[in-house]
């Protein structure tokens, strides 16, 4: 049985055999590449003498915030008669005022660049405030039908969340804004009772195009450039999903396929050009799936199907390997 070790680095294998990270650090220190202080600090991290539980604490905060808001919703739904609208709205209002008040008084000032959070838990206070705002508006709409429908309510929330996300540089809230906007568009379309039809796909195209457009525009204007990825990922998926969902439609199916292939090619091209390989993956998978579904639907036959997958799959693999060797190095 062949071993990679025999294929290469034979001479070096002995010299550097099984060098631990601590031994490497020691060598770099002796060679003067890193300082004594750096070596000590890094060794502490490697030995886990310094061990951060930053992620764990953040996850606890997130779970806590989501649980509280879910519990509030459940409690108010079950006890709306006992508590009364005024009491419920007062509680929600107080929570919201407290949370937003904290964010606006303790939060960092606005900057177009990425900014640090002012304190531990600040982002979760903002997230909590947004969720309570959402629950409050949902309660008002359910009880008093102020907005005469959920679409206005969702659009309003999407705009507020978007503004807050930029004001406080919070990608959690930005995601909340973008998913709320998607909900708004879905509701607008379903209002025409035309779900799963071209109108819904058109909404998908509009949504995806809007996200990518606004993301690129704000990036060019140097406003929160680090948000671009969120827009691109969501936007690309929305566009490609909208296109692929129509590929098997009678009549317009071929048109959708052409649009899908054009979008997939664009995603791959831009993904390679700007080294955003998630776009390459989306373009390849959506494009291949759409084309295959359409072609196999027209051809049929199990042998043709298997042969198709072998031949076309091999072509894709070869192209991806070439791509990986030229551009897609390990990250």
């Amino acid at each position: 049985m062949c071993d990679v070790r025999r294929q290469h680095r034979c001479g070096q294998a002995e010299e550097g055999a099984r060098l631990t990270t601590l031994e490497r650090l020691e060598r770099w220190k002796e060679a003067g590449i890193i300082t004594e202080a750096q070596g000590g600090a890094l060794a502490e991290i490697v030995r886990r003498d310094r061990f951060s539980i930053y992620v764990e604490l953040n996850v606890l905060l997130y779970v806590g915030v989501v649980s509280i808001v879910a519990g509030l919703g459940w409690t108010f739904r079950d006890y709306v008669v006992n508590l009364g609208d005024v009491a419920i709205l007062s509680i929600l209002g107080l929570l919201m005022a407290g949370a937003f008040g904290y964010c606006f008084t303790k939060g960092p000032g606005y900057s177009n660049d990425e900014i640090e959070s002012s304190s531990f838990g600040f982002d979760y206070v903002l997230y909590f405030a947004c969720l309570v705002l959402s629950a409050t508006l949902a309660f008002i709409e359910t009880r008093f039908a102020v907005f005469h429908g959920w679409d206005t309510h969702l659009l309003f929330l999407a705009l507020v969340f978007g503004a807050l996300a930029y004001r406080f540089d919070n990608r959690f809230v930005l995601s909340l804004a973008l998913s709320t906007l998607a909900g708004y568009l879905g509701l607008k379309v379903s209002a025409f009772d035309t779900l799963d039809t071209d109108r819904l796909r058109f909404a998908g195209f509009m949504y995806g195009g809007f996200l990518i457009g606004i993301g690129v525009l704000l990036h060019r204007l140097r406003i929160k450039k680090h948000f671009l990825d969120v827009y691109l990922q969501l936007g690309a998926n929305a566009l490609l999903l909208a296109a692929i969902s129509g590929v098997l439609e009678p009549g317009l199916g071929w048109l959708y396929l052409i649009v899908l292939l054009a979008l997939a090619a664009t995603a791959i091209y831009l993904g390679v050009r700007y080294r955003r390989f998630a776009l390459v993956t989306y373009g390849t998978l959506y494009g291949y799936a759409g084309l295959s579904v359409r072609l196999l639907n027209a051809m049929g036959g199990i042998i043709i199907g298997f042969t198709y997958f072998i031949v076309t799959g091999s072509i894709v693999v070869i192209l991806l390997v070439v791509l990986a060797r030229r551009f897609g190095r390990d990250e």
Partner: protein, 381 residues
């Protein structure tokens, strides 16, 4: 025996650490330039997006080839079983060949061939002497095949699969009809795996392959909890009406997370720490269903307040220690990768792909000189 030299595996991990240290401002870019050449390995790698795409297409091709052969030769029953075994051996050899010939490392294509070999071994074993598929044989083969992939190629996910498949084996014993002995046997298997992987992990500390064994150790521990928590795993097998066992499992689900947390804190075991935090939360959520008590609408509020109180309390307690640390534990971010880990959790929770989590926080000074985090990038040691 692993196909990749241990030195290369370690160098790859050390490369990632150096990148992380550079992003975290713990070393300067020019220092990185000096150490990275030393860590270069002669293996072809790619990023995770191309890797996953190559895996999907590779797996599709492999299965299509076998499907085409089966259709052409019109294979049925025993012949189909033989084809599955032949395919298993052939694709294992293909995976080895791709690695030795083209020096691929986590490239997707060779992984597809390797995983396909385990899949075909599972199918072939399940059908062997049993035209209607023996689930016991299938799971045993799946566990064995996955373990071989882990041992030979070092795929941690294959090791995790091996642990899971091994734990499910007792649920396919025909000679044991009731749930209680099946769960007990599964628990014994998982405990055994936990002990073995823990020993192997300790042998290597946190260097490769210790880091891989740490994942398997945690998987076995979580599996043990899952077997014990009857409210969480009724889908696996309907629990018997045995009161003693029922209340024993109730005790176990309260005992396992604290023990796990103790071991995690003592060993500085990140995987165990994270897993046991989740298990502790699950235990709290399982408590009322276990006791048959009614869930109250305000339960989530109390739970949420408790979580926040624990987080804030821990943060304050750790921060009030000397240099913001107690026993080496700190509440602040040390490395850039911690932020990325949070972004994965946050992205999954918010259904926003690639959305990094909220902000980073100013990191504490370490090592008497630089600062971790972006703020430290400008400071020299």
């Amino acid at each position: 025996m692993m196909i990749y030299p241990r030195d290369d595996e370690r160098a790859i991990r050390q490369q990632r650490m150096v990148e992380d240290w550079t992003k975290s401002g713990l070393i300067q870019p020019e220092q990185r330039e000096q150490v990275i050449p030393e860590l270069q390995v002669d293996l072809r790698r790619t990023n995770r997006f191309l890797r996953s795409t190559l895996f999907i297409f590779g797996y599709m091709i492999v299965n299509s080839v076998v499907g085409l052969v089966a259709v052409f030769l019109d294979l049925r029953n025993e012949a189909g079983t033989v084809l599955a075994f032949v395919a298993a051996g052939a694709f294992f050899a293909v995976a080895q060949w791709l690695i030795t010939r083209y020096r691929l490392y986590r490239f997707g294509v060779e992984e597809a061939a390797a995983i396909a070999s385990a899949s075909f071994l599972t199918v072939g074993s399940g059908l062997f002497m049993h035209p209607n598929l023996s689930s016991l044989q299938a799971f045993m083969a799946a566990a064995g095949g996955s373990f071989i992939l882990f041992s030979r190629f070092g795929y941690v996910y294959a090791g995790v699969a091996a642990v899971v498949f091994a734990a499910v084996i007792p649920f396919n014993f025909e000679f044991v009809a009731s749930d209680t002995p099946r769960r007990l046997m599964s628990g014994v298997i998982l405990l055994l795996i936990f002990g073995l992987t823990r020993e192997r992990r300790k042998d290597h500390e946190w260097e490769f392959p210790g880091d891989s064994y740490a994942v398997l150790e945690t998987t076995a521990w979580v599996g043990l909890y899952l077997m014990a928590n009857l409210k969480l795993s009724p889908w696996l097998s309907s629990p018997d009406d045995v009161p003693t066992f029922y209340w024993a499992t109730y005790v176990v689900i309260w005992v396992l997370p604290p023990i796990g947390l103790f071991l995690a804190v003592r060993d500085r075991h990140r995987w165990m720490l994270d897993a046991n935090i989740v298990l502790a939360i699950v235990t709290m959520m399982s408590n009322k269903p276990y006791l048959g008590a009614e869930q109250k609408p305000w339960d989530p509020i109390l739970f949420g307040v408790l979580m926040i109180a624990i987080a804030v309390g821990l943060k304050r307690w750790l921060s009030s220690g000397a240099l913001g640390s107690r026993g080496g534990f700190i509440a602040a971010r040390l490395l850039s990768s911690e932020r990325e880990r949070l972004s994965v959790a946050g992205g999954a929770a918010a259904l926003a792909p690639g959305a990094p989590a909220p902000h980073s926080h100013p990191a504490p000074e370490i090592g008497g000189g630089g600062r971790s985090g972006g703020a430290g990038a400008s400071e020299r040691y």
